[in-house]
């Protein structure tokens, strides 16, 4: 086996990256032209559309970094807490509705000896 050639290795590495970058840019371009007749349709159309959205997300991220205002992540605990609050409120409503039913039944019951 020939000696390891770092120059050739990095050239191959750079070439692979260049190729991947070109393919990615082409995919983004195709995906960005999705409106109306621009979209070819078919199995690869989704990938192109997806890549176009990734490019938009990248642009948004760049803007955020430049402005120093990053999105605040949603705390999953807050979500869970809200869900529990809703379930408790639903239970409260169910109890209130049952109380109404009991009141309705009681209103119909004629007291004995009346």
């Amino acid at each position: 086996m020939a000696d390891f050639d770092p120059m050739k290795f990095f050239a191959l590495w750079m070439f692979t990256h260049d190729q991947a970058d070109d393919l990615m840019v082409q995919s983004v371009e195709r995906g960005s032209a999705v409106a109306g007749e621009g979209m070819s349709g078919g199995a690869d159309a989704f990938t192109d559309g997806f890549m176009a959205m990734v490019a938009q997300e990248k642009a948004r991220l760049k803007e955020q970094i430049a402005s120093g205002k990053l999105d605040e992540a949603v705390n999953p605990q807050d979500e869970a807490l809200e869900e529990v609050r809703f379930e408790v409120a639903e239970l409260r409503a169910a109890v209130q509705q049952m109380q109404t039913t009991l009141d309705a039944i009681a209103a119909h019951v004629v007291p004995t000896g009346a």
């Binding site: 999705v34 409106a35 109306g36 007749e37 979209m39 349709g41 078919g42 199995a43 159309a45 989704f46 559309g49 997806f50 959205m53 990734v54 809200e82 809703f86 409120a89 639903e90 409260r92 409503a93 169910a94 209130q96 509705q97 109380q99 109404t100 039913t101 009991l102 009141d103 309705a104 039944i105 009681a106 209103a107 119909h108």
Partner: protein, 451 residues
């Protein structure tokens, strides 16, 4: 034979005879024949009223089972019922809520706001403040509406269902309705009717929708007053605005119609693909546009439910439609129960591809045309369509129609495209998906490199 039974038999037979004459004794084209009969069935259902109005409404959301012509015709069904005098409803309200009306409401209008075959709606003012399940407190004096099941409705509807079952068991009717699973449809109908006769079911769905849409200030759902609720009575916040069916051009000019149409369509996608619960009866009378340009949902009579797995599959099927990828649409439709026999796969794929190119490519798209065309394609090929699948396709077509009422040039697929793409992209990052897919990705990459 009861008087009602005789009326049903006579009306339906007369409709059948008129349909035969209108279709020139079967000498017209198949689609003209179906349209002629559909118009007669619709008129007969209007004449019969009661459960037949509800049955017609159910048919209108099931083009997969009953065909496009009949479903379209039943959309025009008119609920022509005379209002019940308030004096007959008052005892129902008081008996259901166990208190005199004067202690429950500061006032209640005797003239109804709306009348339908099952329930009647009256405007009222709350006598006590109420903290709803979600949202701000309704203060004393808050404007509400009281929905009341009309007296005798439950018994009348149940009698009609029994009559419809008896009628449907006749050999001639079976022959006329061949291709339709009559027993299953009537079973489903009876179950949905029972749900509708208990107004608390609708109240619980409204609460859940209010919770689901809590981060969205553009969507509003009426708050339910549970202390004033019972199976036959439901009190809820009053909504002001215009029903979409009544919205004039002048009123439309006052709102950002395009933004509202896009928002409404996106809200529906969120119901289907994020929350797994969707309003499956979204006709223009069930939607309000409020003066502050918000969308208010009303009447949660028909609601579709989806499991997380179904939601993922639906996103993929929709991506297949949006990106005109017939393979993707059929692959994930199979997971939803639309199984194409192996010997028909090639033909169905080709026909679906052609339909996608015709209706979803080249400029503007027409989902209604596509959706009903797709259901027709499946039916023609004898492929069973699960009820949830048919309901969803119809609901999407309806959402397109509703959005177009707000903004005629809206392209529903343009709205769906980023939504489904993001949904699928996000699911791609789930560890279980990565674990499932990585070996396939590796094998595919190596196969290409070593080919």
């Amino acid at each position: 034979m009861s008087a009602r039974s005789t009326q049903i038999t006579r009306t339906l037979l007369a409709a059948g005879v008129r349909g035969t004459v209108r279709s020139r004794f079967g000498l017209t084209s198949a689609s003209a024949r179906r349209a002629a009969f559909a118009a007669e069935w619709r008129r007969a259902f209007e004449t019969l009223g009661g459960a037949f109005i509800k049955l017609g409404q159910m048919i209108s959301v099931r083009p997969d089972e009953f065909g496009d012509e009949l479903a379209r015709e039943m959309e025009c069904l008119r609920d022509n019922v005379a209002p019940v005098p308030f004096a007959q409803l008052k005892p129902i309200i008081e008996a259901s809520l166990g208190a005199p009306i004067s202690s429950l409401y500061e006032s209640i209008e005797e003239k109804p706001l709306a009348t339908a075959s099952v329930a009647q709606v009256h405007a009222a003012v709350l006598a006590k403040a109420y903290r709803p399940v979600w949202g701000e407190e309704l203060p004393v004096g808050a404007e509400v509406v009281v929905k009341v099941i009309r007296p005798g409705t439950a018994d009348a509807l149940r009698t009609d269902v029994a009559e419809a079952r008896r009628f449907a068991s006749k050999r001639l009717v079976r022959r006329l309705l061949r291709g339709i699973d009559v027993d299953a449809s009537l079973q489903e109908f009876a179950a949905s009717l029972e749900r509708e006769l208990d107004l608390r079911v609708e109240g619980r769905v409204a609460d859940r929708f209010a919770f689901d849409f809590r981060p969205d200030p553009k969507i509003v759902v009426p708050r339910i007053v549970w202390t004033h609720a019972a199976p036959k009575v439901l009190t809820m916040e009053r909504m002001y605005g215009w029903r979409l069916s009544e919205l004039s051009e002048a009123e439309l000019a006052g709102v950002d119609a395009h933004a509202l149409a896009v928002h409404g369509a996106t809200a529906f996608m969120r119901q289907v693909m994020l929350y797994g619960r969707y309003h499956a009866d979204l006709h223009p009378s069930n939607l309000f546009v409020t003066p502050d340009s918000r969308i208010a949902y009303l009447d949660f009579g028909i609601v579709g439910h989806l499991t997380p797995a179904e939601r993922g599959d639906i996103a993929q099927v929709l991506a297949g439609f949006v990106y005109r990828d017939a393979d993707r649409a059929l692959r994930y439709s199979a997971d939803l129960g639309v199984v194409v026999p192996p010997h028909k796969v090639e033909m169905v794929r080709r026909e679906l591809g052609e339909l996608l190119d015709k209706t979803m490519g080249g400029g503007s798209t027409d989902f209604r045309h596509f959706g009903f065309g797709f259901l027709g394609l499946l039916r023609r090929n004898g492929i069973a369509i699960p009820s949830g699948y048919g309901l969803l396709v119809k609901s999407l077509a309806t959402v397109e129609g509703v959005a177009r009422r707000l903004y005629p040039d809206i392209d529903i697929m343009e709205v769906a495209r980023p939504f489904v793409t993001r949904m699928i992209g996000e699911s791609m990052g789930r560890p279980d998906k990565i674990q499932e897919r990585l070996p396939k990705v590796w094998r595919a990459a190596m196969r290409e490199l070593l080919a």
